[in-house]
Symmetry: C2
Subunit: 144 residues, 2 copies
Amino acid sequence: MSEVTIGFDLDEFVPYLVNVLGTRLSVELGAEYGERFGISIPEWRVLAHLSQNDHVSVREIYRRVEMDKVKVSRAATRLEAAGLIVKEIPDDDRRLVALTLTAKGQNVVAEIVDMALDFERRFLAKLEPSEQETFRRLLKRMLA
Amino acid sequence: MSEVTIGFDLDEFVPYLVNVLGTRLSVELGAEYGERFGISIPEWRVLAHLSQNDHVSVREIYRRVEMDKVKVSRAATRLEAAGLIVKEIPDDDRRLVALTLTAKGQNVVAEIVDMALDFERRFLAKLEPSEQETFRRLLKRMLA
DNA sequence: GGAAGGTCATATCATATGAAACGAAAGTCA
DNA sequence: TGACTTTCGTTTCATATGATATGACCTTCC
């Protein structure tokens, strides 16, 4: 192999940078609520989605939250076992499973939301306020 | 549960947005080179790092590239089996394993690099040129 | 020199993941 | 009405992952 390799600079490659940052953030935040509530990352995503809507089907969640069907199903099973959500079968379509937070689930969500927003604040503090909004805006554009 | 849930908007939560975008980008790009070269995402990361340096140890890679120790080790084993890299044990420290691209490996890297840069170009095209640089700069700052 | 402790890569094992198969329930169309 | 197809969530099973243990090798300190 040649002594001088021009090569390819991973540290300038945006898809890589986004992936590393995304993984790091999820894992760090996940460690916080995981230690405190025994909740996994997929479980938190389901909870977060349920904080906005009642009686949500598994399908709606995995379509909206970019998670696998099976992952959502399993997260829901664990959340039900932990008493944080309830599963119901709606009468108008008995193939579906409607998920809803219990009172206990609502409390846990509220606490994790606090942790999450605080976490977001701390890490966005690396940017100026105007840059923070720019970053969020550009992210959303890329995801659209 | 109350009819009106204020809740928590995942779609404004930056750690979540970064994670979803990062995963999506890695998976999409990975599908391209995976189909063509049978290379997995961890394998590509190792290759990419080796494109910049010769005789790199497993340790250097997992420290620098934010991957698990075991993941790097396994990726290296597969890459060696595929004839893309060579493993050597350096005389000055026989605990290490030095990884180096073969000629075949260099060719594959060159092709994947082309695909990757093209992929990056296509997806950054969703932003204005000045925004692209801003985005990259902010990303790097967050990762620092 | 050599014991004690640390570091490196790999092996082991238990868990997480997701593609494909499945059973149950709608929907479609003759 | 009753096959046929589609959709939904779960189960199955093969693979991926990563915490821990292991064995080989270095370093330190006596």
